[in-house]
């Protein structure tokens, strides 16, 4: 199992087991991780599953595609390490991934 750590805006962290092949957003929703809304259900259409990827991991993830970059324009408080968690697919290579959720989604 791949472990992912979600840190909320206040600094509280939650570690969950993620299924390979699922997305980081789905992992958050399945485990009731707060701070991720995923209004559109994972179709990269709403920017409410916005996360900040821990700096140590920023270079290890595949880059955001053009559609994701477009949707990130709509996210709240976008930073260089901003990603939409519905577009990050879990794999063994991501074991130990740390993401932080923003103050609010949208």
């Amino acid at each position: 199992m791949t472990k992912i750590t979600f840190i909320d805006h206040a600094g509280k962290s939650t570690v969950v087991d993620a299924e390979d092949g699922s997305t980081v957003m789905e992992t958050a929703i399945r485990n009731d991780v707060p701070g991720i809304e995923a209004e559109c259900g994972g179709s990269c259409s709403c920017a409410t599953c916005h996360v900040y990827v821990d700096e140590a991991w920023a270079g290890k993830l595949p880059k955001a595609g053009p559609l994701e970059e477009d949707m990130l324009d709509f996210a709240y408080d976008v930073r260089p390490n901003s990603r939409l968690s519905c577009q990050i697919t879990v794999s063994a290579a991501l074991d130990g991934l740390v993401v932080t959720t923003p103050e609010k989604q949208g």
Binding site: E39, D70, D73, G106
Partner: protein
């Protein structure tokens, strides 16, 4: 001037479930008006995923959000539904009794509906503009910060800062350019989602020195009494600068908010409207809630669930609209009277 409209049913929300409600009500001779805050029909299907395929609509192995909406529009055409777009329902007042309900529904566009039943098909709530993360921006909203352009003239002679990189941002950059004293477009990256010809037109204006393009984010707004004077823009190189601006238009898309529904005296549970599963009626007789906005044991937020819900809600609505008429259950395949209503057979 206030416009008064008398009808049988008011449907709040013109998403797929609201649209299909027109059909089910129409078969029972209940006339409906639909009100939606968006400028067109379709709700989330049209706003969030018009091009994305949906795979779980019975009878459609694959249909796009917009395709489903187009088909529903065609399906309800015989019932001549009346649409009121770009309007938000602000209040629903109960003026009847539990046995003979009647309601006064008001919108923010000065329309007043008098009706027997109300169907809330508001999905995730009303789509409202997303606000940028700028501290204290609320103090300027409506005075010098706007999330939509109602009257272009309001921007004449202003130093207008437009924030965003989509069609709204680019279209208003080009449309307001002749009126404004100066336009500054601020976007977080040097790529734009907007139509390429708009982007090219904007780049030509920038190249000719007729407007400014800044890549970065608005960090702070400055001014007094709601009137902006400057915005602090931080570039991607982390340097900040004060930019003179007397009007700002942030375009960050839309988000769903429950909105005024919370003030209509309905019992709510976690921003959803509890209903029974026989009639999908709320705690107020005559007000129904259908689709994603409602909740009941076992609720699934599926379009097909919403379709089922409106069919049952319509049966009860008929009792309120036609208290003295007996309702006989009929099939569209065999009933000549239903076929007449549909304009077929």
């Amino acid at each position: 001037m206030t416009e008064h409209i008398k009808t049988d049913a008011v449907i709040i929300g013109a998403g797929p479930v609201g649209l299909f409600a027109v059909f089910e009500l129409g078969l029972l001779d209940i006339k409906a008006h639909l009100i939606d805050i968006l400028d067109r029909a379709g709700g989330q299907c049209a706003e969030l995923y018009p091009e994305k395929p949906i795979y779980d609509i019975p009878g459609f192995p694959e249909v796009s959000g917009q395709g489903l909406v187009d088909n529903l529009m065609k399906q309800i055409e015989p019932f001549n539904p009346q649409f009121h777009f770009s309007e938000m329902v602000t209040s629903v007042e109960n003026t009847g009794t539990a046995e003979a309900p009647s309601f006064i529904v008001k919108t923010d566009n000065d329309k007043v509906f008098e009706c027997k039943v109300v169907l809330i098909a508001a999905g995730g709530g009303s789509f409202q503009p997303k606000k940028p993360p700028i501290a204290g921006i609320e103090a300027y909203e409506g005075k010098s910060v706007y999330y939509a352009v109602r009257k272009m003239e309001a921007f004449r002679g202003k130093k207008v800062m437009i924030v965003g990189g989509g069609d709204s941002a680019l279209d208003w950059t080009l449309n307001l350019h002749p009126l404004a004293e100066r336009i500054t477009l601020v976007h977080r990256r040097d790529e734009f989602r907007a139509a390429p010809h708009s982007v090219n037109a904007m780049r030509e204006l920038v190249a000719a020195g007729k407007m400014d393009l800044m890549i970065g984010q608005v960090m702070e707004v400055k001014g007094a009494n709601g009137e902006l004077s400057h915005a602090v823009v931080r570039g991607n190189d982390k340097t900040s600068m004060d930019v003179a601006c007397t009007a700002m238009l942030p375009f960050f898309g839309l988000t769903m908010k429950l909105g005024p529904i919370a003030e209509w005296g309905l019992h709510l549970h976690e921003n959803l409207v509890p209903v029974d599963t026989e009639k999908f009626e709320t705690s107020t007789p005559g007000i129904f809630a259908v689709g994603d906005i409602n909740t009941y044991p076992g609720k699934l937020k599926l379009i097909l669930s919403g379709f089922h819900e409106v069919a049952l809600a319509a049966q009860k609505a008929h009792r309120y609209v036609y208290p003295n008429k007996k309702l006989t259950f009929q099939y569209t395949t065999s009933s000549t009277s239903l076929q007449k209503k549909l304009g077929v057979g």
